[in-house]
């Protein structure tokens, strides 16, 4: 790790001012940032630690819920009120990473973590995410890479489990920046690498996620989160699936269908949502939605299997949610 200066401001506004410099990085739990610094793919001169700033680790389950960006994944997973109102978020947090990491990892850090593409994570590969000219995964080792949105500049997958769940719940983010506060709907938070693959979200210099607000679920609302992985104990997901909808008069309304770890951002399948709207829960409806979802997939050379997984997992998630 290259030497750096650690600063520990006492307010988010001050942290925003300090982290606006191009050679500064915010540090929350440090699970992702410290790793990147040790691997030599990031060498900030100033590390702005926000993890001890008071007042941002609260969990108010509501509903509507308000979560501070410094709430750890372990506490989100364990909160009984959250689990009752937003089971998919609790399951997403509980299934991410390992017990030790969940004690360290924060919600804000989980949303803002950088991808795990092995070319990006190796110092030796000057990939597009690091400002280079090539996406090495496109014609290289890509069995864990994207199967949706693969025609963009980078085909990594976004690793955030909480992002997948919060996108399904239509959450919004409280953002603090050098110029003040704003509210950012999560639908506009993740950045598709259409032109610029060097970032995964739309925060601007110095902006910090302060918290997350999740709307109260309507009467009859249902949701489910599923994570499929190779190793049972813990693993990065092959495919994550999150669904949220309401059942009114026996029909599905306002469904949001989100896949994680299949695209450079948590991926909302509007095609599946349209297929579900107004339908009556049944295996046939689940199949119809899953087929609509994967019709948009464009897998790479080694990962067509992930398309099959996404289809099966969406059917399972829907059956789980309306059971």
């Amino acid at each position: 790790m290259k030497p750096f200066t650690l600063v520990r401001p006492t307010s988010l506004a001050e942290a925003a001012r300090l982290s606006a410099a191009s050679d500064a990085e915010i540090k929350a739990g440090g699970v992702d940032l410290v790793d990147r610094m040790k691997e030599g793919i990031d060498s900030p001169k100033t590390v702005v630690s926000i993890v001890e700033i008071a007042g941002y680790d609260r969990i108010e389950p509501g509903p509507p819920a308000r979560l501070g960006a410094l709430a750890t994944l372990a506490r989100i997973a364990d909160d009984a009120g959250l689990r009752k109102a937003y089971p998919a978020l609790a399951d997403a947090a509980a299934g991410a990473a390992t017990p030790q990491i969940r004690h360290m990892a924060t919600l804000g850090g989980n949303l803002c973590q950088r991808p795990r593409c092995w070319y990006y994570r190796l110092e030796e590969f000057e990939c597009r995410k690091k400002g280079g000219d090539d996406c090495f995964a496109r014609d290289g080792e890509n069995r864990f890479h994207a199967v949706f949105d693969t025609d963009l500049t980078c085909c990594c997958v976004h690793p955030s489990a909480t992002g997948t769940a919060l996108l399904a719940y239509g959450a919004s983010l409280d953002v603090v920046g050098p110029k003040g506060k704003r509210t950012l709907p999560i639908d506009r938070f993740f950045h598709r690498p259409v032109k610029d693959p060097t970032r995964e979200n739309t925060l601007t210099a110095g902006e910090i996620v302060a918290g997350v607000a999740i709307p109260a679920p309507a009467a009859g609302s249902r949701s489910a989160y599923r994570k499929l992985k190779e190793k049972e104990s813990f693993d990065w997901p092959l495919v994550e699936t999150c669904v949220a909808f309401t059942l009114s008069g026996g029909t599905v309304r306002g469904a949001r269908v989100v896949f994680g770890s299949v695209a450079p951002t948590p991926y909302r399948s509007m095609a599946a949502e349209r297929a579900l709207e107004g339908g009556t829960p049944s295996d046939a409806l689940a199949k119809k939605a899953a087929e609509a979802a994967i019709a948009e997939a464009k897998p790479l050379s080694q990962n067509a299997y992930k398309v099959t997984l996404a289809k099966v997992e969406l059917e399972r998630a829907l059956r789980q949610a309306w059971a």
Partner: protein, 223 residues
């Protein structure tokens, strides 16, 4: 030809950080960009905590920070200022091994032993929170610790056994263990160089002998 003695880098590069390590309050000088794992092993001579993947994937570097298991390879040393760190060296007491250590030894839950410190501390945190964990709860709590030798079964059994001992029950291993026999505990006590403070004092003297500067106390900036 006699080699010229290398002069130590000036200790100005180091920060002096107050923390509690295994119950002992120390002021530890270390380079401010080190991880807690590096500080423990290189500056405090506590080599019981192991380097594994350095990525958060293996759990062998797990220590307790304010009682919670964390991965010391991903924690900055500076951020331990004012906090309490427990490593495997702090587990055995004057009465001998911690029940978890004894159960691991009795059941053969350690083979090469590289993963053991991380398992022991993670299990200790579990048993402090949940004195009567079920087998699935033990598996879940230890899910972030990899072992390449034992196949895990003996580790889970050892945690169950130690949990019973800690509850004051006269428990036996739940089934005949392949390696189950009583070890001579004297040979198992981790050997480490005594109080960390003594190690640091000796290092300080050596540094002054070599003409290094005194490290300056670390105080969090802008706090």
């Amino acid at each position: 030809m006699a080699r010229r003695r290398e002069k130590l880098p000036p200790d100005r590069s180091k920060a002096l950080v107050a923390m509690t390590v295994n119950g002992e309050r120390v002021e530890a000088p270390f380079e401010p960009h080190k991880t807690m794992l590096e500080v423990l092993r290189e500056d405090l001579a506590l080599t019981g905590t192991k380097h594994g993947c350095e990525l958060g994937e293996c759990g062998t570097c797990a220590v307790l920070l304010d009682g919670k298991p964390v991965l010391s390879c991903l924690v900055l040393g500076l951020e331990c200022e004012g906090r309490s760190v427990e490593t495997v060296e702090g587990m055995a007491g004057p009465e001998g091994l911690h029940p978890l250590q004894k159960a691991f030894a009795d059941l053969g839950a350690a083979q090469c032993g590289y993963c053991t410190p991380g398992f022991l501390l993670t299990a200790k945190a579990l048993l402090e929170e949940n004195p009567r964990p079920t087998l699935p709860e033990i598996r879940q709590a230890l899910a972030g610790n990899l072992c390449r030798c034992t196949g895990y079964v003996k580790i889970f059994e050892a945690v169950e056994l130690a949990a019973a001992w800690l509850r004051g029950e006269a428990a036996e291993p739940r089934k005949e263990s392949l390696y189950g026999y009583d070890f001579d505990e004297s040979g198992l006590l981790p050997s480490h160089p005594g109080p960390v403070g003594a190690v640091l004092a000796a290092a300080r003297e050596a540094a002054v002998d070599e003409g290094g500067d005194k490290p300056r106390p670390y105080r969090a900036k802008a706090r």
